[in-house]
Amino acid sequence: MTPNELLYAKTHEWTKVDSATKVATIGVTAFAVEALTDLVYIELPAVGKKVKAGEPFGEIESVKAVSDLYSPVTGEVIEVNGALAGDLGVLNEDPYTKGWMIKVRLTDEAPLGKLMSAADYEKQCSEEGH
């Protein structure tokens, strides 16, 4: 269910780091998508935007509520998944590949050390009462 090759933030974002290019791909987990349900709107940053680990990079809105999307990494946005806004259903179907949100060129790798493995993240989710 939760891909092993990714890193996870407490706030339910996943990160895939390409160690050669120092580029991180970021999205939200299936757990988060299921908790949100009925997504209506997503706002993602523009290319060139600086993001900082632990700070919001966008927002996602459901019928019931809005949630901030928190960046798990620090760096500069180099690519944005522009197709997502037009088809939020992708987040339900494929949150870990087609549902990616932004790619960030890392300027500081230290925050990666705070991210969780898939096993630890699953443990957190079960504690949150799935």
């Binding site: 349900t37 009925d38 209506v40 709107y41 927002e59 809105e61 459901s62 019928v63 019931k64 809005v66």
Partner: protein, 367 residues
């Protein structure tokens, strides 16, 4: 700090069927089972079932019930014929709304009259506290809080009457809108009324708590879709029905809320009448309006409404309308900004989004 949440007679069913349980006014209630949008659409196109057993149900007996209730609610009770149900308000001496309520005049099998008040779950204790000193002084009326003895199920949608017909002794289509009566529900004693909170046709059933699961299961078996409080909110908002705690509070009067129809001022005495008479004579500073937004960001409760940079109002409820596929909201705005088609802005977390005043309700069913 953690207090045990109250459970309806259908609580176990909700949990067993994937209900996402939340604390609603001290009750453990399902916000949704599948998704808010799919449950919303099931109610608009077919038939939704809602456990509304958390609503407060108060029964009044005795020859003093009519004068007692007539002094309590803003709507006249003295001329209600058997079976009539009226929407009204309980207001304080200043005319602030304590609750919005339905008053039922019912008859038991022997033809004896009694009355019911259905109050909001979150206001039940407040209303009981409001009633206690008044009951102590009243003559020939007894009040019984039957909330926990009775369950309440709303059956709502274009197929609702057809779906519920087999479990009722009477034909629900024979009931006029806002009337109700005692009947047998799956063979058990209960009350059926042609009422609801979704903007659809349908009925609400009151029945013994220990019979609720049986009736609920029968309605599920014939195609009723279990619906949570999430879509109850989106449905009532599309239908522009006020929700206590949002459009109604103790600092809102009935005229500001555009509920003047629910106030009968003439020829009667009730708590708050003098204040309401004064308020009725002048236009309120603000009034309740509907807004639609052209973007996708959703206005939520308490967001400021502005015009030319100046604050002119506040959102009371907002959602993304599944039927209209656009964000909608109700708001209180200055009367000068309340005309249809007025262009306003809503401050959505620091960014102004364009909005337009539209006619309420947002959704009206085809009859």
């Amino acid at each position: 700090m953690t207090t045990e949440l109250a459970r309806t007679p259908l609580h176990d069913w909700h949990v067993a069927h994937g209900g996402r349980m939340v604390d609603f006014a001290g009750w453990s209630m399902p916000v949704q089972y599948t998704s808010i949008v799919s449950e919303h659409q099931a109610t608009r196109t077919h038939c939704g079932l809602f456990d509304i057993s958390h609503m407060g149900r108060l029964r009044f007996d005795g020859p003093g019930a009519v004068p007692f209730l007539d002094r309590l609610v803003t709507r006249r009770v003295t001329d209600m014929t058997p079976g009539r149900i009226r929407y009204g308000l309980v207001v304080n001496e200043q005319g602030g709304v304590l609750d919005d309520v339905l008053t039922y005049r019912l008859q038991d099998a022997g033809g004896g009259d009694y009355y019911c008040l259905v109050v909001n779950a979150g206001n039940r204790q407040k209303i009981l506290d409001w009633l206690a000193p008044r009951l102590a002084e009243a003559r020939d009326v007894t009040m019984t809080d039957v909330t926990r003895n009775w369950a309440m199920i709303a059956v709502q949608g274009p197929q609702a009457l057809e779906l519920v017909r087999p479990v009722l002794e009477i034909d629900p289509a024979a009931l006029k809108y806002y009337t109700g009566r005692e009947t047998r529900i799956a063979g058990h004693g209960g009350v059926v009324s042609r009422t609801g909170y979704t903007g659809e046709d349908g009925v609400e059933l009151m029945l013994g708590a220990n019979k609720a699961a049986e009736v609920w299961e029968r309605l599920i078996a014939v195609g009723g879709v279990a619906c949570g409080l999430g879509c109850r909110d989106t449905l009532r908002l599309e239908a522009a029905m006020p929700l206590y705690g949002h459009e109604l509070t103790e600092s809102i009067d009935p005229y500001t809320a555009d509920l003047g129809f629910a106030v009968d001022l003439e020829g009667r005495e009730f708590t708050g009448r003098d204040a309401l008479r004064r308020l009725s004579g002048q236009p309120s500073a603000r009034t309740r309006v509907g807004l639609t937004l052209s973007g996708k960001r959703v206005p939520r409760e308490h967001f400021p409404v502005t015009k030319d940079g100046a604050a002119v109002g506040e959102i009371t409820s907002g959602t993304f309308s599944p039927t209209l596929d656009t964000p909608i909201a109700m708001a209180y705005v200055d009367r000068a900004c309340a005309a249809l088609d007025t262009k306003l802005m809503v401050d959505i977390r620091g960014r102004a989004e364009p909005a337009r005043v539209v006619k309420l309700p947002f959704y009206r069913r085809q009859k």
